[in-house]
């Protein structure tokens, strides 16, 4: 499988780049000086900007395009303690063929499961497993003691390596929020870098690494901005808002803020990082607002599966209902999509 473009940067250059940006070793003091030197977030301005972007009215053919685009950007997710191989198989069936009544519906980008269910997902996908750019579906696994992240580094690395060995194309890791809030930025940096190393496969390619900030636990926008920079510096290919287990999960202002970081990083280094809002996006209307925000902030080139994803489960059904409304001309109902 070809390495995703966003994961194309080698570890060495990621570290070198971090050293160049930071002007020193990534220890607590250097990182603290750098992250606290970033300008604070204008919270009122940020929320106003997000609210402004949410007022766009997207109709008819643009809406149809947006609905299909949303589907192709979804990480169809099941992260329950009660997940079974059968549940994963039905999730995969839905990912491959979201609406059995309409063959023109695109496939989703990836399925996202717990690490131990990766073999079931890979098995169920069969020939449909691969890069979303080729019309195939990736397997993403949450790792590193998801969702709390409270375990030793060894266990986090073993968790990651297991999922990669089982065939995961993408790893969704959680940062140690406790360490971050305690100001131990060097520890968080080292853990992300170590997990990135554990994403490496024997053939030299590497699974794409999504770094979950869990913005609901970071409390302030300033912290979200710092955590975003920290994750990118440490080598994350994607920054992801939330686990979906903590409220508030993804919000439009937080996603806008992370997109601004990604945009700035691209202007600074020419390197593109992905963004994944996850949790709480249930309605097509909300998802379209995210598309608008991405296009207006990072740019339209970000609207592709290697640079933007929705972490969602119930969103897909709502998009399918909207799509059915647009193709049939009458409102559809929950009886016409799957029960997840």
């Amino acid at each position: 499988m070809p390495a995703p473009t966003s994961a194309g940067t080698s570890l060495v250059t990621a570290r070198e780049r971090a050293l160049a940006v930071l002007g020193g070793e990534p220890d607590d003091a250097t990182l603290r000086r750098y992250l606290h030197g970033i300008a604070g977030v204008d919270a009122v301005g940020l929320e106003q900007r997000a609210a402004g972007l949410a007022t766009r009215s997207i109709k008819t053919s643009s809406k149809m395009w947006a609905l299909d685009k949303i589907i192709s950007l979804i990480d169809l997710t099941t992260l329950e303690g009660a997940d079974t191989p059968g549940k994963v198989r039905s999730l995969v069936a839905k990912a491959v063929n979201p609406d059995p009544t309409d063959a023109t519906v695109p496939r989703v980008a990836a399925v996202c499961v717990y690490g131990d269910l990766v073999p079931d997902a890979v098995d169920a996908l069969g020939g449909a497993h691969g890069d979303p750019d080729d019309g195939l579906i990736s397997v993403a696994a949450v790792a590193t003691a998801f969702p709390s992240g409270r375990s030793s580094l060894d266990i986090k690395l073993a968790d990651t390596a297991d999922a990669v060995a089982a065939g995961a194309d993408e790893i969704d890791m959680v940062i140690d929020r406790g360490a971050f809030l305690a100001g131990r930025y060097g520890l968080v940096f080292d853990q992300i870098a170590a997990v990135k190393e554990a994403c490496r496969r024997p053939d030299g390619t590497s699974a794409s690494l999504k770094v979950i900030l869990e913005t609901g636990e970071l409390v302030t926008y300033d912290n979200v901005r710092r955590a975003s920079w920290l994750s990118i510096l440490a080598g994350g290919d994607f920054i992801k808002t939330s686990t979906g287990k903590v409220q508030p999960a993804a919000t439009l202002p937080v996603t806008l803020l992370m997109l601004e970081v990604v945009r700035d990083w691209h202007l600074m280094t020419g390197h593109r990082i992905g963004v994944k809002p996850a949790g709480g996006i249930r309605a097509s209307k909300d998802a379209i607002r995210y598309l608008v925000t991405v296009a207006e902030t990072a740019g339209e080139q970000w609207l592709q599966p290697h640079l933007f994803r929705f972490g969602a489960s119930s969103l897909l059904n709502d998009v399918l209902l909207q799509r059915q409304k647009m193709t049939t001309g009458h409102y559809s109902g929950a009886d016409y999509v799957t029960i997840d």
């Binding site: 001309g329 009458h330 409102y331 559809s332 109902g333 929950a334 009886d335 016409y336």
Partner: protein, 286 residues
């Protein structure tokens, strides 16, 4: 000294709240003598969609409540209507231009019908259900269950008795309803919604839309999440077209009625919005 008139703008009743139409539209309602009566929200297809979503969400709770409980809640509404009697009488006099006696008679009839239907709530299953004969050591029992979301085009030629006669029977069986009120006489329907909002009816069980039935009805008839449609007040619309739309998703349909006997109280109006569930059960643990 005359006081300043306060022209009102009435709103819709969706999911237990009173929103304006999503479209922002209103229309003027006139008195029988041609004078201005009030502004009323003119619902759009999106208001109808929101109402259906609310109704769908409410079916489980209302349909799952015990028949006894539903009966008590419905009876309480009759009590509230009785308490607001004078307001309804005055509104009907204004809107329809009828005498006080005729308006009073309409309100009385409405309350009586509501009480009549409320009484059936914990009794109609005994009449509509059955213990079927079988040749074996089993019970075979048929019971009526609510069909789900019922859309109603209320009778267009009355203020209160029409909407009450159309709204009450599906509620008896445990359905939730989306009612399009009389276009010409919507005020009593909204006052009824205010009564419902302050009663024990859970939010979303009853949703009242005002506006043009000709505009809204096709969206309700073709909506896949509507289980039945009562076209009792759709006589002036293309109701055959609506029936054809409804057939696409196998909705139960009641056809238009007109005249003095329209939507007269009957058990048939209750059972029209039920599905029969038949279960086998062993007679004893052998």
């Amino acid at each position: 000294m005359s006081r300043l008139a306060v022209p009102k703008t009435y709103k819709l009743f969706i999911n237990g709240a009173f929103p304006r139409s999503e479209s922002g539209r209103t229309y003027e309602v006139m008195k029988a003598d041609g004078g201005f009566l009030a502004n009323v929200a003119k619902a759009s297809r999106k208001d109808a969609r929101d109402a259906i979503v609310a109704a769908r969400g409410a079916v489980g709770g209302w349909g799952g409540a015990t028949a006894y409980n539903r009966g008590q809640v419905l009876y309480r509404i009759a009590e509230l209507l009785e308490g607001r009697r004078a307001q309804f009488v005055a509104a009907i006099e204004d809107a329809e231009g009828v005498s006080r006696a005729a308006a009073s008679a309409q309100v009385d009839e409405s309350i009586d019908r509501w009480v009549w239907y409320a009484g059936w709530t914990d009794k109609f299953a005994q009449v509509a259900g059955n213990a079927n004969p079988v040749a074996g050591p089993y019970f075979n029992i048929s019971v009526p269950e609510p069909t789900g979301v019922v859309a109603i085009i209320a009778p267009q030629d009355s203020s209160l008795v029409g909407i009450v006669s159309a709204m009450a029977p599906p509620l008896v069986a445990g359905n939730s309803v989306v009612v399009v009120a009389s276009e010409r006489y919507p005020l009593s329907a909204i006052s009824l919604a205010e009564v419902l909002a302050t009663s024990d009816v859970p939010k979303g069980v009853v949703n009242v839309l005002t506006g043009s039935p000709a505009e809204i009805a096709p969206w309700l008839a073709s909506h896949s999440d509507v289980n039945a449609i009562d076209l009792v007040g759709a006589g002036d619309l293309d109701w055959i077209g609506l029936e054809i739309d409804a057939a696409d998703t196998l909705k139960r349909v009641l056809r238009p009625e007109s005249g003095a006997d329209a939507a007269a109280p009957s058990l048939g109006r209750i059972s029209a919005f039920t599905e029969t569930k038949t279960v086998w059960h062993t007679k004893s643990l052998l």
